[in-house]
């Protein structure tokens, strides 16, 4: 069974970036750019849709369960 990857994993298959930070920074910029011009409500909706799209792509319920746990850890009261 696959596990949630929590080490750096951004990139393009078969390409080694000159600077290790570049692919992550590329993603982060795309992410923030996607929100450009949206109000807070629209941004929340976009984020929710994004979570659903990525979750479906991952598909594996055990991996998703790990991701949900990792995201929840340290927020609010313990579950």
């Amino acid at each position: 069974m696959d596990h949630l990857i929590t080490q750096p994993n951004f990139g393009r298959p078969g390409q080694t970036p000159l600077r290790a930070f570049t692919p992550g920074d590329d993603f982060y910029e795309m992410l923030i750019e996607t929100h450009r011009g949206l109000g807070d409500d629209d941004s929340r909706l976009l984020n929710a849709r994004l979570v659903l799209l990525l979750a479906n792509h991952i598909g594996d319920l055990e991996v998703l369960r790990e991701a949900l746990r990792a995201a929840r850890a340290g927020i609010g009261s313990p579950t």
Partner: protein, 557 residues
């Protein structure tokens, strides 16, 4: 007046031009602006035997510490100019940066994970020291004339150069230049006089710099805080400088009043909150700044060449300002010399613009990304930033996304038209366009570094097990390369020490690291430009291919 530094005052001299009639002297090359970049350009030209006039409207060095972090590549270029040791000896060497969120450390980087390089990842030194060292170096060069308190008030570009009006306390005079290098800083009066645009993004945020004198035993590291308890909601950066001076950089937000924030009664409580009530310190210098991320469309306008902040400006997060300016002149000077000596067409100077525009774009991209991460401009942006910071404590991928500044590294000019694309297979990062990696070598019995033995001319590094492996025919061909109009010096890089064949210099690759870092085997040849960038490489020496690569790298193809 600073308590740790006395500003030198350089002598103004009445220009001889005022006492004679005529349209003014003609100079082969004039540099405007004696900041670090203009000084570097003028020193480089003069060291290569070119007479150069450097004009500056002031008579001292940078007021305030300003540019602080000098990266490995800038230090290597300063080595070539004869100032590297002075900067490293006076400055504070560091490699490690630590990033905190609230009270906790969330991320740490090391600029130099690999040993056996001459220069460290970064040296902190107040800009006034760097400028003073460069001025002292300039004063040693008979080809270099420095005129203080000579202010350029008019520029008229001409087909074969530019005509300048220069104002002094004693009156205004004219002079002509075949070539003009503009290094007059971010506000660039000359850029404005010529009506040239510089476009980009203004960031709506203000930052307070406080230089503080104190005795503290914090390690020489870069410390960056997101949302620290002593300055909630904003960021803070701490750097060590020379002379027990510490740079503290507080994000203030756009609504801060710059004049109010500079007052000691505002600044001192901020510092006390950070350092605790018992730490004794003195305020040395305070400044409130904003910044822009922008560049000119192109850096060459006929015979007028823009370098440094005059051509491009970045946010300070990443130390990509002065460091990229020094790389501009490193790129420009050898090209200008070839053009001035009739050995290359003027088109070679367009490659200066192309290569350094690409480098500027990389610097702008990285410094803009850092700024967007550090100072989020929307709620969702802040949410993601804080999500990254909270995940970073536990998860490696999130530590990689923490962006408190991606620090200056040299540009790999991989897309440059001057490069000869690889025909052979190589591993690693030293592809054409790359700045040569350093490695320990021994030459004529002296331990030194590869980068100390390259630069200032085209150079062929030819790898062999021992000098005798290079046969007589190859040696004759290498001698012909050395005697060409654009000479190519050859250095044999060998593992076994033995006397050098006539006409060749030998570098002993004592630890095998030169070969390892360049993925070189016996027979491998690397062609380097005068600025130490790789421009072509082969697994086997082919003199015709070397000639073709030189022609390509000088726009003579």
């Amino acid at each position: 007046m600073l308590s740790t530094y006395t500003y030198p005052k350089f002598a103004y001299r009445r220009p001889a031009e005022l006492d004679r009639a005529g349209k003014g002297d003609r100079h082969p090359v004039v540099v405007v602006g004696a900041g670090p970049i203009g000084l570097a350009a003028a020193i480089d030209l003069a060291m290569q035997g070119q007479r150069v006039l450097l004009l500056d409207d002031d008579d001292t060095v940078s007021v305030g510490s300003r540019g602080l972090c000098y990266a490995k590549r800038a230090l290597e270029i300063l080595d070539r100019l004869g100032c590297g040791d002075a900067v490293v000896d006076k400055g504070v060497t560091w490699n490690v940066g630590r990033t905190f969120f609230g009270r906790d450390e969330v991320f740490r980087f090391n600029l130099q994970p690999e040993a056996e390089h001459h220069r460290p990842g970064m040296v902190n030194l107040q800009q006034y020291y760097l400028e003073e060292f460069l001025v002292r170096r300039a004063e040693q060069l008979p080809n270099l004339e420095l005129r203080w308190k000579h202010k350029v008030t008019g520029v008229t570009p001409q087909g074969d150069g530019a005509r300048l009006q220069v104002e002094t306390a004693d009156g205004t005079y004219a002079l002509e230049a075949d070539w003009l290098i503009v290094a007059d800083g971010a506000r660039s009066p000359i850029r404005r006089m010529l009506g040239l645009d510089i476009e980009g993004k203004v960031f709506q945020d203000r930052f307070l710099i406080a230089d503080v004198v104190m005795k503290a035993d914090f390690p020489a590291e870069r410390w960056f805080w997101f949302d620290p308890p002593f300055h909630p909601g904003q960021s803070v950066l701490l750097h060590r400088e020379a002379d027990n001076v510490w740079r503290i950089d507080f994000q203030l937000g756009w609504d801060a009043d710059p004049e109010e924030e500079k007052k000691p009664e505002r600044v001192i409580p901020r510092i006390r909150a950070m350092l605790g009530p018992d730490r004794e310190f003195d305020l040395e210098w305070v400044s409130v700044y904003t910044f822009q991320c922008r560049r000119m469309q192109r850096f060459r306008h006929g015979r007028v060449l823009f370098v440094g902040d005059a051509a491009h400006q970045v946010s300070p997060f990443g130390a990509r300002g002065a460091n990229s300016g020094i790389q501009d002149t490193d790129n420009l000077v050898w090209k200008l010399l070839l053009v001035m000596r009739g050995l290359a067409p003027e088109a070679l100077l367009d490659s200066y613009s192309d290569e350094r525009v690409a480098a500027a774009d990389e610097n702008l991209m990285n410094s803009t990304r850092s700024t967007d991460f550090i100072t989020p401009k929307s709620q969702v942006s802040r949410d993601f930033r804080n999500a990254v910071l909270t995940l970073a404590r536990e998860h490696g991928f999130a530590r990689g996304l923490v962006n408190s500044g991606r620090l200056s590294v040299p540009s790999h000019l991989s897309e440059s038209a001057l490069n000869t694309p690889d025909g052979d297979v190589f591993a690693g990062t030293m592809a054409p366009g790359a700045p040569l990696a350093d490695a320990p070598v021994r030459a004529e019995g002296n331990e030194g570094w590869l980068l100390q033995h390259t630069g200032d001319a085209f150079m062929l590094l030819l790898f062999a097990q021992k000098p005798a492996d290079v046969d007589a025919a190859a040696l004759a061909a290498l001698r012909a390369l050395a005697d060409a109009p654009i000479p190519v010096q050859t250095k044999l890089v060998v593992r076994e020490d033995a006397p050098a064949p006539a006409g060749c210099r030998v570098l002993i690759d004592t630890k095998g690291l030169a070969a390892e870092r360049l993925d070189a085997r016996p027979g491998t040849a690397y062609l380097l430009r005068p600025d130490q960038h790789v421009t072509a490489r082969w697994r086997r020496l082919d003199v015709a291919a070397v000639r073709a690569a030189i022609a390509r790298a000088t726009c003579n193809a």
